[in-house]
């Protein structure tokens, strides 16, 4: 089921949670709404579900406007962050709930419901748990029950509100891979809300990055990671070194530390514009000797060798800004770095954003 969100605005009191949001999701896509807490992603999801009403704007599901439609008519499955299982019901009863509350005319026979519950529990790999109560399950198992319960009514659209947010890192990783496989199997349109960039980039076909009620960027995981459209997206997706600078006419004088002649050159006449330069830790190169004019000197403060890559923390000599660099193990061995040494830092790739003067 395709989704079309048109100029949706939502306020809670004087606080604008969603500010003129537009979004298009194609049938069968899995889209992640990504952003820090309070960015409005959950509110957008709840509006799609019908649990909240937008103050302005319209929602179309599969080409039909549903802005004023009741929840039950939307055929939408919803998975909550804290599972929201019915704790006085067994796992099987939880999954069967959506079928049991159907009007008698549409309700399948008891036998058919039982079969269906079995099918779904097999899908979420919990056949053995059918007679347990939610309190007897682990967090990951509970969320799988919640997912099976949502799928029981055969929704055309599945909405997941931080489904793995309450789980520990390892289970979370497992479950999101599993969710991705499940999605590929069922071809159901899905929207997943998350504040975990890794999760969004790994699981989704497209990522919608949100910030303070606005959509900052929409694109494939690769697009948003490689070509962030705004400073916020750059900072939110992955670690980054931020250098503040000032552009004066055709030359940029980056204050901290000097990174002259950045990619963009200001037109002559434009004076005194502030700008920010972003460099990812793995895009910074370390050298023992000066090789070109773009380098600056920094003292190695701390080396962290645990993990697949080596993380080096340095302090720029001139500006005393802390800089994070990521090296491969090989490069680290070649350099034979030691804490306290002074080395040359050089950005291989960077992105500059102008900050409009207010």
């Amino acid at each position: 089921m395709s989704i079309h969100v048109e100029h949706v605005t939502k306020r809670f009191g004087t606080f604008t949670v969603l500010n003129d949001v537009n979004l298009q999701v194609e049938s069968g896509e899995l889209v992640a709404l990504l952003g820090p807490s309070g960015c409005g992603k959950t509110t957008l999801l709840r509006i799609l579900a019908g649990l909240e009403r937008p103050d302005q704007g319209r929602i179309f599901l599969h080409g039909t406007e549903v802005t004023d439609q009741r929840i039950t008519e939307r055929r939408v499955g919803f998975v909550f962050q804290h599972y929201a299982l019915f704790r006085h019901m067994t796992v099987a009863d939880n999954v069967a709930f959506g079928l049991n509350v159907l009007p008698r005319a549409q309700r399948p026979s008891a036998v058919r419901i039982q079969e269906k519950v079995h099918e779904l529990l097999r899908l979420v790999q919990l056949q053995a748990m059918a007679d347990r109560y939610p309190s007897q399950l682990s967090g990951g198992q509970r969320q799988r029950v919640a997912l099976a319960r949502a799928l029981a009514v055969e929704p055309k659209l599945l909405l997941l509100d931080e489904p793995f947010g309450a789980l520990d890192a390892k289970v979370r990783k497992e479950l999101r891979r599993w969710l991705r496989r499940l999605h590929d199997e069922l071809h159901i349109t899905g929207i997943i809300v998350t504040h975990d960039q890794e999760e969004a980039l790994e699981v989704a076909d497209r990522v919608v990055v949100m910030h303070q009620g606005n959509v900052e960027q929409i694109g494939t995981p690769e697009e948003v990671y490689e070509n962030p459209a705004t400073p916020f997206v750059y900072q939110f997706l992955g670690d980054v070194n931020v250098f503040h600078g000032r552009a004066i006419q055709e030359r940029t004088i980056a204050n901290l530390p000097p990174l002259p002649e950045v990619d963009s050159v200001l037109p002559a006449g434009a004076v005194d514009e502030r700008e920010v330069t972003f460099v990812r830790p793995h895009d910074l190169e370390l050298n023992r000797y000066r090789t070109n004019s773009e380098q600056f000197e920094a003292t190695v403060r701390y080396i962290l060798t645990a993990g697949s890559r080596v993380r080096v923390e340095l302090v720029a000599l001139e500006s005393e800004q802390t800089i994070e660099v990521e090296l491969t193990k090989e490069r680290y061995r070649d350099l034979a770095l030691r804490e306290g040494e002074v080395v040359f830092v050089h950005p291989r790739h960077r992105q500059v954003f102008k900050i409009p003067q207010s």
Binding site: F78, F80, Y83, F86, H88, V101, Y133, P134, R149, A152
Partner: protein, 278 residues
């Protein structure tokens, strides 16, 4: 040999506090109650049986326990509705209503009895409109029922209210998302969560009503075999210096109350362990 009760603990003073608790409990509860049994034991078994199965006594049990049970059930329904309104809706005067719920707790029961009698008497505010309809409240078992309902209300409201407050809103939303209508959500999701607390509240209201004296005697009219409650019968016997007879009835009340207290505790235990919290 160490006492088995004693387990190593970081908290000091186990022996002291346990000793004090037992002493205090004996002083306040056990000794007075055992006095009841000692006094009753001066009667022979036949005498005891005669007193407690006397038609007047039997009628009083029927009224006391019957009216208490009906009152508790009425409170179960309307108390839940009050708790629901207090928790779920925001309206001006809500905290006032919330405070008023406790009034039957705080009000001297005699005051409650006199007030109820004044209102429901044939010439009272409400009584005068019920009179033409042929409904007599004051000085009938119906009056007893109203008094017992009055004093039991806070128990149901105060046990149901916190449970309603803690009810996870997401669970109701989940039910709605799965296609349940309001009634289905209420019946299948909210009631099961509420049930243990509601049972406890009803049981407590019932227990309180069984022991009620002050508010009932004014409105009941106290006609033997008709509108006489057991506590009043005990009082009557005391006034006639029939101490053994009074304690015999007291023993019956005590045993029933004990069974009830036990039942309440079981209900509470059941409600707290039935499903471990998520």
């Amino acid at each position: 040999m160490h006492l088995l009760l004693k387990q190593p603990s970081v908290l000091p003073g186990f022996g002291l506090t346990l000793g004090f608790a037992l002493f205090y409990f004996s002083l306040i509860v056990l000794i007075p109650l055992s006095g009841l049994f000692v006094r009753t034991s001066t009667l022979s078994w036949e005498q005891f049986w005669d007193i407690v199965t006397n038609p007047r006594a039997m009628a009083s049990y029927q009224l006391t326990f019957g009216a208490s049970l009906v009152g508790a059930l009425v409170n179960g329904i309307f108390g839940s509705i009050i708790a629901w309104v207090l928790v779920r809706y925001r309206f001006s005067g809500r905290s006032l209503v919330d405070a008023l719920v406790d009034l039957p707790f705080a009000l001297p029961t005699a005051v409650a009895g006199i007030t109820l009698t004044a209102i429901y008497a044939p010439n009272g505010w409400i009584g005068r409109y019920l009179e033409p309809l042929g409904i007599k409240v004051a000085f009938t078992p119906l009056g007893v029922l109203i008094a017992l309902t009055f004093i039991g209300l806070p128990f149901v409201v105060r046990t149901v209210q916190p449970v309603l407050q803690d009810l996870d809103k997401e669970v109701e939303e989940a039910a709605t998302m799965l296609g349940a209508n309001r009634w289905q959500t209420f019946r299948a999701v909210i009631v099961p969560e509420l049930w243990p607390a509601l049972l406890t509240g009803i049981a407590m209201a019932f227990a309180r009503a069984v022991g009620e004296y002050g508010s009932v005697i004014f409105i009941a009219g106290n006609m033997p075999l008709k509108s006489e409650i057991t506590p009043l019968l005990i009082m009557t016997k005391l006034e006639q210096y029939d101490y053994s007879g009074a304690t015999a009835l007291g023993v019956v009340m005590l045993l029933v109350s004990f069974v009830l207290a036990l039942a309440i505790n079981l209900l509470q235990w059941w409600s707290s362990t039935r499903h471990m919290q998520q």
